[in-house]
Symmetry: C2
Subunit: 381 residues, 2 copies
């Protein structure tokens, strides 16, 4: 554990375009230098100000640290708490960066890499998943600044594109020129209403070095991010994806999953390949927020409020691929084991780390949402 304290140093903020400089977004299954996590403390997101989620985050941080560095962000008030949890010799670096919430996937930098192995970050505009239109909280200034701050600490140059709203959870790259997104999210009114689909495609191609964008028609029912792709579909290697699935026609996810399946079957990636599609079941029983959990949340003015019995966007697709493993969500559901078996076969060379994600899913996200990989060479793996 190495402690990096808050400093005033600045990163080299770039206003140029990554693709034209030879950068591309790698697949999550490519080598990582590390992974960003943010200590969970927001009272309206995590029950009991994070009491339960801290256990889950600790387990996830340790699992990731087995094969790559973990950059664990926390605010000043929780600095002692965090240092008292993590052992010195773990691969976990504690960094004091203030944030509004803990979704590193969406507020951390999206990283690109060039042929020399140089890694750079991208800081998109973050507006809490919809800004004034349908954002989930109103004060997101610290979250919006997080990507640049993280790049500063990790000594990465950072492209800044603050007139384009995007979150890391809304894109999946295969590393070979193909990007998966969902139409409802990227075309939402709360993000870039002034831009056409073609203009959005142009930005993504310029910044992520991709050639083809796959616009899935739907995401996961109940996903308050306007249906981020990382809940419905993920690359497991180039040309191969897992898709959230249900065989139950009465489930609200039945339509969306089938639409995506039909769509994907007809699509080809940037290299002209059709997709090999693995069905990953959703939980058999909908995961809903309980009265007890609701009472353990405390919302601030302007923050999106949950309701008792509300169906949460629980999907096994929202896993994190680390250098040696897959950190894989569990919900105490009948399908937990089945999903682990499927993912074990999809990733035969990786260790599967099943983690009960209940305390995270209550906050609206899941394991992939709380992580953001930093590509690069790993000393650890």
């Amino acid at each position: 554990m190495q402690i990096i304290r808050d400093k005033d140093h600045k990163t080299d903020v770039l206003k140029t375009v990554p693709a034209s400089e030879g950068f591309r977004m790698p697949g999550e299954y490519e080598e990582h230098k590390g992974c960003v996590l943010i200590w969970p403390v927001r009272p309206g997101t995590f029950t009991n100000c994070g009491k339960e989620a801290k256990i889950t985050f600790t387990v996830i941080a340790r699992a990731i640290a087995e094969s790559e560095e973990v950059y664990l962000l926390c605010d000043k008030d929780h600095y002692n708490e965090v240092t008292n949890i993590f052992a010195e010799d773990l691969n976990i670096k504690i960094i004091n960066i203030e944030t509004n919430d803990s979704w590193a996937r969406d507020t951390g930098p999206t990283c690109v890499i060039d042929k020399s192995g140089e890694v750079r970050g991208i800081s998109w505009k973050f507006n809490a998943w919809g800004g004034e239109y349908d954002g989930l909280y109103t004060d997101y200034e610290l979250d919006d600044k997080a990507a640049v701050r993280i790049c500063e600490e990790l000594k990465l140059r950072c492209y800044e594109l603050k007139d384009f709203v995007l979150e890391g959870g809304s894109i999946h790259s295969d590393g070979e020129g193909t990007l998966l997104v969902t139409a409802p999210c990227l075309l939402s009114k709360g993000r870039n209403p002034g831009l056409s689909k073609e203009e959005i495609e142009a930005v993504l191609k310029d910044y992520l070095g991709v050639k083809k964008i796959i616009w899935l028609p739907r995401g996961i029912a109940g996903d308050e991010t306007n249906e981020h792709v990382d809940n419905i579909c993920a690359f497991v290697r180039p040309g191969e994806v897992v898709l959230a699935w249900t065989e139950d026609p009465s489930d609200i996810q039945y339509g969306p999953s089938n639409e995506c399946m039909e769509f994907l079957k007809k699509e080809k990636d940037a290299k002209g390949r059709t997709f090999k599609i693995h069905k990953l079941p959703i939980p058999k029983k909908p995961v809903c927020i309980t009265k007890e959990e609701l009472e353990a949340l405390s919302f601030e003015p302007g923050e999106d409020i949950r309701e008792e019995g509300e169906r949460l966007a629980a999907s096994y697709v929202n896993f994190y691929i680390s250098n040696n493993g897959v950190i894989f969500p569990q919900f105490g559901d009948e399908n937990d084991k089945i999903a682990v078996e499927i993912i074990s076969k999809v990733f035969p060379d990786r260790k599967i780390y099943p983690v009960n994600a209940r305390s995270i899913i209550v906050g609206g996200g899941n394991i992939h949402c709380i992580t953001q990989q930093i590509p690069g060479r790993s000393d650890k793996y």
Copy 2:
């Protein structure tokens, strides 16, 4: 995760003598079927009713579950909490057994095994480390019953010896006839004042199948268990031990560690071998309870009370050996890494899991104290 609910079934309680029936206590490094842990909730032991310790226990349970079963005891009130933390497909079985505190080493069964591989438990009398004389709490009835209850759930026959006070933390077996104990603990006035040293030896030989007992003169300074052996010295294989050590003559541990070293150098084990002794440093800076931690504890009448600045019995010797690894305490100290390096060399074939034990040490014990191995064949390893 398999859930075993409270039932009224009874185990087969034996009043016979293990050694005469061919049973012996194995070394901790021999194969385990699993390990008992007890969910930490006691307000006078763990800060914030276990808020911090639950994180540590979760990390430890998962580390152990990588190579053996974990039997996680919890009371009815925390049953939902525990099931919401652990994923279904982990090797962790949640068992509803009510206890007073969470030191499975001392309240769980001491297990013995015979040549056929049958495992049986022993339930000693537990009196909270000294009963009326210098015990740490007055109501220990549930703790005293825990060993038999655990044997019931695990379907082990159980020897009961309720006129002899002993805790698992006060004995270390090499599995080949030698037992390590400390004189200050086993001869303490709060345990078996009516028995002579020879009478105590006879009981230990009868129940643990050992031939020779090594009576170390001292334990760790500040150890409120009257100096349990598991803080000062542990077998790492037959004929080989680690000993808590300091080179600082001004440290209160200097004398005790040197006394033990001199004593051990002259001793031989049951097979006539002298000991190979590895020095394991104690933390460089004494680990003391802070004002903030003290304020997060809440003592009940009759319970031993801590004081601000009190030195805690922090020792790297208090680790747990699982089938594939060593769960190893860390204190945020300069010696953390050095201790990990030493233990890695001592156990070259095991994975070292460093865990910050701060939240446990505040309660007076450490990683070894919260575990109790159940020997036997493992499906997992």
